[in-house]
Amino acid sequence: MTLRLVSLEIGCFRGWHGPVRLALDCPITAIVAENGRGKSSTLNALEWCLYGDAVIGKGSSGIEERQGWEIRPRHAGERPTEVRATFANGDARIEITRQENPSGKKSERGRFEVRLPNGSLRQDEAAAVELRALGVPDWDTFRIAHCFHQEAARRRVLDSSDRSALLAAMLGLDEDVRLRELLDAQKPAAMIGGIDDLLRKLQSHIDSVAGRPARELEDATSRLVARGLTVTDLHAGTAKAVRVRLIERARTVADKLGLAVDLPSESDDRAVAAWAERWPEIARRTAPALQPLESLRTTLARLKTATTQADQATQKWQVTNDALERSVREGGDAEARQAALSKAGADVKRADDALAAASARAAALEKARDALARAGEPERCPVCDSRVVGLVDHVAAELARLSTAEITTLRGALAAAQDVVKQAESALRDLQSRDDAVRQAEKWRRAALEEVATALGEEAAGAHDPLAAARKRIETTSEEIFRLDALANERDRALAEHATDVVLLRDFERWMELRDRTERQVDVESLPAWRELERAIDEAAGCASDLEAVKEIASEVQLERSKARAEEVNRSLGRYFALIMRDDSRGGVRVESRVTRGKVEYRLLGDDGEAILPLLNQAALNALSLAVLFAQAEERSRNRGFACVLLDDPIQSLDEERQIGLADALEALCRTCPVLIGVVPGVFSERLRTHVSVKRRFVTLAPWDETRGASVAEEVVR
């Protein structure tokens, strides 16, 4: 099936204000007019009909000069813009209509429809799909493979991307190029890069989410390291080792203390933790081995006190006894002292009697004296009544002697005897008191020894020397207390180590909890969503890999097909170039394909195998651009079913000779592909009129009118 353009109806489009119908059923249709009369508007109308907004504006159209393009004439008012292109496929007719209304909702202003030969209508997107199915190329392909725009005359050969696409189209490989572009558009490498970005962002998010728990974990780790652990020690095995140590230590202590305890299994974390809390109290409170300790201390204290007291009492007795013996040795025993006292008492009696006698004599003398003094006869003795010469004096003298010497002496003797009595009494008392002291000391000693015996208990019954036995007992008890104290200290040390290990274990378990929590928070592996994401990533990676593989295969296939097609296309290209240039020697231009960075690229080479573009002047570039266009249009019309070439003022930069050549080339082209061309009157248009033998239509446009716009002045078919 080959679609050929047969008519174009234009209404209110750019230069065309009013409606016009142009028949385009000749191999060549030439719109002849001076500049500004509507030639380009006519060609543009067909483009707009087929492609709509794609042909407007610089970006969408790919034609720089269409920046700010307007399709509606300024004076169109409310009249809609409508262009209808009718294509023929044999006898069948396909009408393509595009309309734009100036008013109403923007979404409802446009209308695009394709009416098929069977009368069915396709609209909008469905219409566009239908056109592709019918073989009408898309705008980009149409622009470079079916059009020659004066604004972009040489671009198809100078712009590398346009050139490569055009040459590929010329070789009939535009679908390969499109496939390649489609594959490139999927950007498999970017897909992989996007996945890596996603994973980096996810990791960053995980790191931030894990931030606080990670800091707590770091703190917990630091605390454990400060206790002497290394980072490599931080695992469950170390915690278990601590539990084992706790239990083994407790077992050792329990054995030594005689405790029967149920120790937990080191693999039961909770049981170990609960037991570890209770263990110190159990170990301190109920140790049978240490139970005697207090009673031993009490016994020891009692024994010590008793033996000390006994020793003191014994010493006291010894001292007092020694003093008594010394006193006896020095002063005689009690009998001797009593005897001395008795003698002293007798001496006192004798002295006293003597004194009493002396005192009585003195008293008698005094009586005698008094009596003598009273008597008239002082010398007569009142007693014996004898006369004694000097009796008074003698009495006085005797009395004086008694008073002054004898009585005094007797008094002195009595005092001395009394002193002796006192001394004897004192000595006796002293002896008595010493004896009492000894007895008291003996009493104390007996009491102390009884206390010792009591403290000894049953052992005292068989002890000859309870005090010695007590001392020995003190020794053994002290040793036993020392041993038990050491055991208690060992227990206390073990409990201190136990407390340290309990804190360590608690910190370790806290560390593991934090680690597990951190792991859970960052352990995406355990999340079902992560497995889903991984599967999606794997599939995406597989897709990207497949795309890369398909790209490589597509490039290889394209290259092979390029090589297969090149010879035929190059003949066509060379022929057209030679025709336009009117120089057979210029027919050596050819297309060469090669793979560059995984893509198939096309170059234009001359006879010498070198790139030809740098050698060409403007005219030759135009000519080459046209030759490329004609070659691929010919190929497409043969193989793709769409036969149409639009040429808008193609004679730019072509001298008259080349214009003649162009006319010859068009004559050759139009036999396979109809041509719609806009030209100014001149050598070229005349050449078409006079020297081209195919059927051709010439539509001459009248001068452009401000109100009416473009119009047809004359239409001639030759």
């Binding site: 890069g193 890596d196 980096r200 592996e525 794997d538 990676a541 990207a544």
Partner: protein, 174 residues
């Protein structure tokens, strides 16, 4: 990969530098043995790194690579070795471990012609060839091997891990 395992690998890498790749290879070998491989041969000089006979009868050839970036490349000898192992009836694999926290082992089936020598491949791209069942079979044992042997790896290097491997009756070197 669990954070704890990843941080231990990072510690080993910091401590052992260039030796890290070989150490990881030996840890992987330990993991396969602990997972029940019936035979494992480690080639330390030339040829494919690990030849493994699994308990289910499958025979594998693994080329082990640890990457410090998101890309990895393979030498011509590696490619050739894998092709030879395939001819001998072993399923050839690329065992790949990347540096990122979310990276875990990728056991990529080697397909001749699709992996070219001296070309950089994104680790992510090679996920297209993953054998996730094989990866799952050693995930836990690899983590356990890293945790159990971190200290030995840091203090004793490859030699210490060789001593661990020699204790397995199903291990041999070539």
């Amino acid at each position: 990969m669990k954070r704890d395992v990843r941080s231990r690998l990072e510690e080993i890498s910091r401590a052992k530098g260039q030796e890290f790749g070989k150490i990881v290879q030996k840890l992987l070998a330990i993991a396969f043995l602990e997972a029940g491989a019936s035979r494992l041969i480690e080639r330390s000089t030339q040829g494919i790194d690990l030849e493994i006979d699994l308990a289910d009868g499958r025979r594998l050839a693994l080329e082990v690579k640890t990457s410090q970036s998101e890309k990895v490349s393979f030498g011509a000898k590696d490619i050739k070795g894998l092709c030879e192992r395939r001819r001998e009836g072993r399923a050839p694999y690329l065992a790949l471990l990347g540096p990122r926290g979310l990276d875990d082992w990728i056991f990529a089936r080697f397909v001749d012609g699709e992996i070219l020598p001296a070309k950089d491949y994104a680790l992510t791209a090679l996920r297209a060839y993953r054998d996730t069942d094989l990866e799952d079979s050693v995930r836990e044992t690899f983590a356990a091997a890293v945790i159990a042997h971190t200290t030995a790896a840091i203090e004793g290097g490859q030699g210490a891990l060789d001593a661990v491997l020699r204790k397995h009756s199903r291990f041999a070197t070539a």
